[in-house]
Symmetry: C2
Subunit: 364 residues, 2 copies
Amino acid sequence: MTAAEQLRNEQADFVAAVAGELTGFLTSRQGIMSGISSDIDPIMGSISNLVTGGKRLRALMCYWGWRGAGGEAGAAEVVTAGAALELFQAAALIHDDIIDRSDTRRGGPSVHRRFSQLHESQGWALDSERFGQAAAILAGDLCLSFSEEAFTDIGDRAASGSRARLIFNLMRAEVMAGQYLDILEEVAGPVRDRAGAVSRAQSIIRFKSAKYSTEHPLALGGALAGGTNDLLRGYSAFALPLGEAFQLRDDVLGVFGDPLTTGKPAGDDLREGKRTVLVALALDQAAPAESEFIDARLGSPDLTDGDVQEIRRIIEDSGALQATEVLIGEYGAAAYEALEALDLDELPKTALRRLAEATVSRAS
Amino acid sequence: MTAAEQLRNEQADFVAAVAGELTGFLTSRQGIMSGISSDIDPIMGSISNLVTGGKRLRALMCYWGWRGAGGEAGAAEVVTAGAALELFQAAALIHDDIIDRSDTRRGGPSVHRRFSQLHESQGWALDSERFGQAAAILAGDLCLSFSEEAFTDIGDRAASGSRARLIFNLMRAEVMAGQYLDILEEVAGPVRDRAGAVSRAQSIIRFKSAKYSTEHPLALGGALAGGTNDLLRGYSAFALPLGEAFQLRDDVLGVFGDPLTTGKPAGDDLREGKRTVLVALALDQAAPAESEFIDARLGSPDLTDGDVQEIRRIIEDSGALQATEVLIGEYGAAAYEALEALDLDELPKTALRRLAEATVSRAS
């Protein structure tokens, strides 16, 4: 078996083990819920549906962080940690989609839309949209509780006061804080000083995405395997710029991505009013009339396809798209440099390099 | 010192210790959040504000459950458990108020209203109501995570696999399931068979309220102190009917309560469309035309004061109010009987009797 095959097999085994862990976890909870009422099945179904998809980026970061710190291949603790991270991600997506009024997720209806549709198909009373949101708030809360239950299932290595527990707690608090800064910038951005907009957008990226998607999951794996604080600092030097590049790529895809590949409508981020680094750079670099056009149309629910095209044109012509691609390149380079400086075995180092490549150059 | 004074003092000491624990906990998290951005202060402020009020019913149930099982007075574990329960209750209230579109909580604005008002006062862009809801979803998520962090802070007695942890997990899952059944009944109730409405309403009460407000907190305290499974079963025989009486009282107050005492607008539950036992009994017992009137107006956002008065009249004249008071009396009697059968020291037994009295006969 070549090294590349070994890597692929080990990673596939881990992903399958996480999927199995999630199925087992949710089946046991389904048993509890069935005892209450079969009416709860759609809530459980919406969670199951969401955790069966996705790129498993966070679980994989955790796994290779664990392996890099000397953890045993396929050990139960890191599989459970991976499942906990996937459940947390599902909870975040459910609430995120309510907040952003996103009707689609991975090409299908988002959870609040699923429940609005259930309401409509059953001919129930009162407002279907309101019911959908309420049900999705509760589904997200349940999934958030599940993520923590799964995390606690890791056992001693994640006990009260452990480094792994502290990282998990910090991750949750930071992503929620980052999401708040994100929605705050949508509404407060237009009246705050434009000079600080790029740096505010970068701070949002760091907390709502980079720390959560790459830095903390990698550190979590390292901490669970008993890695030194030095190793964890090295992990961070790699994963933080990687996560920033990941989110900048996400922002570019949110404006320029192909709906068939991303599973989200074209220009979705513009309709939601996201003030990303990409948008902040455009507002800063475009002609005043063009900046005003973006400011006036961003976040408008009745944004036309023509508006989307015009904003795209301004972002391109202002040089903001190019500047963002340069930033992605710089963050990516910083990540690769930090990765090479890490004293890791060849297998986890190669695995992290592959993950980094997939993250920075992805199209969905 | 008389026995009554001893009880009052010990209970006051515990309530003060929980308040201190909450302040310490939130101050340490405020430190983390300040490191991200002072923009997050209003989120932390909304959580602090919510945990400083309230009746501390769940924390007190936990405390006397602990003491009844032989736990030491004022011990750190039970104080931390009380703080975790209060944080969980705050998280539930934040999301509940979004779901029910309740603009007031304890006489002040609810969290989503606070953020809508912040938006309006700052002259921010886009929609203030939407911003308020999004901020409150995130504030509730953060508070839910905090409740679990506090619970884990209890240490070994609440470790992975412990009875206390299992009770805490079951409590969270059941209350979320119960809340979903509650909103489902609002929309599906009108098209489901009326004959099953009272029993569906009783099931909702059990899961969204009775188990969560009294049964599980009492059991949690007992489990933390190492109480036997027999004791925990005895606790349940007392606390479950007590919690059912508690929620039936809440339902009566939601329709007939004095806004000055409850801190909520008159007839709020009717505007929200809650299909409580009280309402289900009225639908069952009133004349067809009157039942139809309730069915048509319940949950209508433009319900007039005249409508509220008419629905109140129907609930009274149909005998539903009287029948609910009889149920409250029966549940209360079952609770007292189970309490007397418990083999407890005089102090915790008296304390639980007092809590039960306050719970069943309260006016707010």
